[in-house]
């Protein structure tokens, strides 16, 4: 059961609005985002419900959802939203807030996917682009599930979907500088 009325201020809504640049109060719960989203069926709370949860100030419940981690930021939802809410940015804002507030990072529901995001960013930072083989290996090691999806490896290798070596972008250093700059900016905030 959701308990409302304990406090009048909705700080969570304010934080999400500030970070995302959208006003979630605009959402009138039509559900167009849900039917547009290619991954909404994998989310435990589809985007519309996330909006409502933010509106009601249900911070903990929102952080525990896997929705914002599943969001592909493909922006199909926002391109169709009749209230012009930038939903991917809202999802991103919630992700950031969840990390900032470090709410239960070991929650089994989101642990793996948060690891995935971390490793992915790590790959970009190092090589300037994704290095699939290493990423898969690292993901399997860090989630302690060594043989996950192993049966797909031979076929994928044969089709050339997983290059064995890694390719750096020409100016990987520049990308690393960008990461550093971003980290610095985050700290200033």
């Amino acid at each position: 059961m959701i308990a409302l009325g304990q406090q009048i201020e909705n700080k969570f809504l304010e934080a999400v609005n500030k970070k995302s640049g959208s006003n979630i109060l605009e959402c009138y719960q039509c559900g167009k985002c849900v039917s547009t989203c290619p991954v909404s069926s994998f989310m435990d709370f589809p985007p519309r419900e996330i909006m409502q949860m933010v509106k009601l100030g249900l911070k903990e419940e929102t952080y525990m959802a896997n929705s914002m981690w599943f969001c592909l930021t493909c922006a199909a939802c926002s391109s169709r939203c009749p209230r012009e809410i930038d939903i991917p940015r809202v999802m991103e804002a919630i992700r950031h807030l969840a990390i900032e507030e470090n709410v239960d990072p070991d929650n089994p529901k989101v642990k793996a996917i948060r690891k995935f995001h971390e490793i992915f960013l790590d790959m970009i930072k190092r090589y300037g682009r994704n290095y699939e083989l290493r990423m898969m290996a690292e993901f399997n090691i860090r989630t302690r599930n060594l043989f996950k999806d192993m049966h797909l490896a031979p076929k994928a290798l044969l089709k050339g979907k997983i290059p064995l070596g890694h390719e750096k972008v020409q100016r990987a250093k520049a990308i690393q500088r960008m990461f550093k700059m971003a980290e610095k900016l985050e700290k200033i905030k």
């Binding site: 959701i2 009325g5 009048i8 009138y28």
Partner: protein, 657 residues
């Protein structure tokens, strides 16, 4: 010898697809009296009408049968065609082969064709007995009676009076203004209700063509369209309005306190009172039910303090009569009593109020000076739950219909709450948000986005007390979870309901009402302001729930109808009315009882030629009779006949098939 012309219409494909029109025409030609028969694609079109006009002249027709759509659609068109050709228009008969045959027998073309032929045969037989009839002229009294002095009555009265037609405006309470005077601000523009209403009220009071009768009620209405006679009771006010200056000394000194109806009983008024500061007329009246002087003969303070000596305890109710030609009924609405909702704790918990009580509280001239307070402890509420559809759309405990305005005024209340109490929050439980109207959706968005009211889709299941607060439990259907809101105050958007005495008024006026008590319009779409009784019109919530723009629009429409009615010096009406053959009339008066329009009266005539003894017979009032035929059916001695539908015509029809 009768010479009948038959004109069969294809009505595009409407008739032709399911009725073999040429075959029907051939069949018609076989009837002995039919001298001419023809079919055409659209009989109502100009060439179609020309065919009728030409045939009347060429074939010297004595009556015309048009086999087409319902006479409700084009009877007038074809009558006009007849009179253009120099023929009496009432020699027309319409055989309805569309609504009565092609549309309802779409699965069987053969049967539909046969039925169409039968209908034409009947119409031909009837038309042979048609007589030349002439429109009836009725004199008209150009004065209108408006019942109810709310915004609907005010608007109708002003519009009629502006057309220089005298108006008698009757209001049962001491002041005009009605419900709108009780409102604080109005959606969707948040205009101050008083600011836009009071100029109109002042206009009414000062208009040379309006006679304002406050504190009065209509007791009787006799007569018929254009010639009504109304008896109006002017309730004793015990105050001489001619000398009273409205200074207020009397009500300041009056020791008797009574719950204030204008403020929904939140505070008290005195036994001598004027309902609100901007009242029109701004004269007090004495509430005879509570005044100790009138009840027990003790007190008399008001008379002592009145410098003008305007108080008169001996005043009696007075009946005045007015001759009028048309009536606009605008008696407004009441609130539905929410007490069946026991799960909400209505009556048990003080901090559950109705929207009109909330409205009075946030109103600047209200009992709390414009700040909402909790009735239990007088604290200013921070968390207010609004529950919509209390009574509305609930067949089990309330009524089936939607009250139409609650979505909007609840959005308004959320905004007003935020204006009056800045650190407050509104929670609104709703079923649907119905915001159809100019600027309405935008207004709801304003409540949601700017004010930040929390809209929760679901009906509240229960309210219980926790400490001094109320716990409101309902579902948030958007999340599929139960929510419980801790609230300081709960506001119920109770349904609009007609006044309890609406049916009495309807009977008094001779008009119909629905199962709730709303007065019925003549046609829900095409005659929304007329009643079934000629010359009586409706405006505002007495007909159905409405917001202010709709009410004002309907009031102006009713006024336009009145002005239209009074445009000529006489009223024209169809001659299809019943007449009594006094030779056969036995005076049983069954017709008087059965007549839905009270058109039949009795008169005394000599028993025989030159006799001094008298006997009672029925007499039809031409102006009132609507030609329904009920009296014809009930008359045992067949003394009543209905012009245009005489016994002869009906018998001819029956015999023909």
């Amino acid at each position: 010898m009768a010479r009948v012309g038959v004109f069969v219409c294809f009505c595009g494909a409407n008739i032709a697809d399911f009725v073999d029109v040429p075959a029907v025409t051939e069949e018609a030609k076989k009837i002995k009296e039919v001298k001419y028969a023809i079919e055409y694609k659209y009989m109502c079109s100009d060439p179609g009408q020309q065919m009728i006009r030409d045939a009347i002249v060429q074939h010297r027709l004595t009556s015309v049968v048009v086999a087409a759509c319902s006479p409700r659609m084009h009877e007038k068109t074809f009558r006009k065609a007849l009179s253009d050709a120099g023929m009496n228009p009432y020699l027309l008969e319409v055989a309805n082969i569309r609504e009565h045959s092609s549309w309802v027998h779409q699965k069987d073309k053969k049967a539909a064709t046969e039925k169409a032929s039968d209908l034409i045969r009947m119409a031909v037989a009837k038309s042979i007995a048609n007589e030349q009839l002439h429109e009836i002229s009725v004199p008209v009294t150009k004065r209108a009676l408006v019942i109810g002095g709310g915004i609907a009555g005010i608007q109708a009265a002003l519009d009629i009076a502006d057309a220089r037609i005298p108006v008698v405006l009757v209001e049962k309470s001491p002041s005009i203004g009605g419900r709108m005077a009780q409102l604080d601000e109005t959606f969707p523009t948040l205009d101050c209700s008083q600011c836009i209403l009071t100029p109109k009220m002042v206009d009414v009071a000062s208009h040379p063509f309006i006679e304002l009768l406050p504190y009065s009620e209509v007791m009787e209405l006799d007569g018929y369209v254009g010639n009504y006679k109304a008896k109006i009771k002017r309730k004793a006010s015990y105050v001489n309005f001619d000398t009273c200056t409205g200074c207020g000394a009397c009500w300041q000194k009056c020791p008797v306190k009574v719950p204030n109806e204008f403020n929904m009983g939140i505070d008290k008024r005195k036994a001598i009172y004027s309902p609100f500061p901007q009242a029109v007329p701004n004269k007090p009246v004495i509430d005879a039910e509570h005044c100790t002087m009138l009840l027990k003969g003790k007190c008399g303070i008001c008379a002592k303090v009145c410098e003008k000596g305007s108080i008169d305890y001996t005043m009696q109710d007075e009946i005045v009569e007015r001759e009028i030609g048309a009536v606009v009924v605008a008696t407004g609405y009441d609130l539905w009593d929410p007490s069946p909702y026991e799960e909400y704790g209505v009556g048990r918990y003080k901090d559950i109020i109705t929207s009109l009580e909330f409205e009075r509280m946030v109103s600047a001239n209200g009992p709390t000076g414009g700040v909402p307070v909790r009735p239990s402890d007088g604290k200013v509420p921070k968390r207010v739950v609004f529950i919509k559809c209390v009574g509305s759309r609930d067949e089990a405990k309330g009524i089936e219909y939607c009250s139409k305005i609650c979505c909007m005024y609840t959005a308004k209340h959320a905004i007003l709450l935020h204006h009056k109490v800045h650190d407050s929050h509104a929670y609104i439980f709703y079923m649907d948000i119905r915001a159809a109207g100019k600027g309405y959706e935008e207004f709801v968005k304003r409540a949601q986005v700017e004010t930040g009211a929390t809209y929760l889709r679901g009906r509240v299941s229960k309210i219980y007390k926790k400490g001094e607060n109320l716990m409101v439990r309902g579902e948030d259907a958007q999340l599929g979870q139960v929510v419980e809101v801790e609230a300081d105050l709960v506001v119920l958007a109770t349904a609009i309901y007609p006044y309890k005495d609406n049916p009495d008024l309807a009977r008094l006026l001779g008009i119909s009402y629905d199962k709730y008590g709303y007065l019925s319009e003549a046609h829900p779409k095409l005659r929304p302001v007329e009643t079934a009784k000629a010359g009586i019109y409706l405006a505002g919530c007495t007909q159905a729930p409405k917001d202010i723009p709709d009410t004002v629009a309907q009031a102006s429409a009713a006024a336009a109808k009145v002005c239209g009615l009074f445009a000529g010096d006489t009223l024209k009406k169809d001659p299809m009315i019943s007449t009594v053959n006094t030779e056969f009339c036995t005076g049983c008066q069954n017709c008087v009882t059965v007549c839905p329009y009270q058109a039949i009266v009795t008169e005394e005539i000599p028993l025989g030629h030159g006799s001094k003894e008298m006997r009672i017979v029925a007499k039809v009032n031409e102006g009132v009779c609507q030609g329904c035929g009920s009296c014809v059916a009930i008359c045992r001695s067949m003394a009543i006949d209905l012009a245009g539908f005489t016994d002869m015509q009906i018998i001819n029809e029956i015999v023909s098939i």
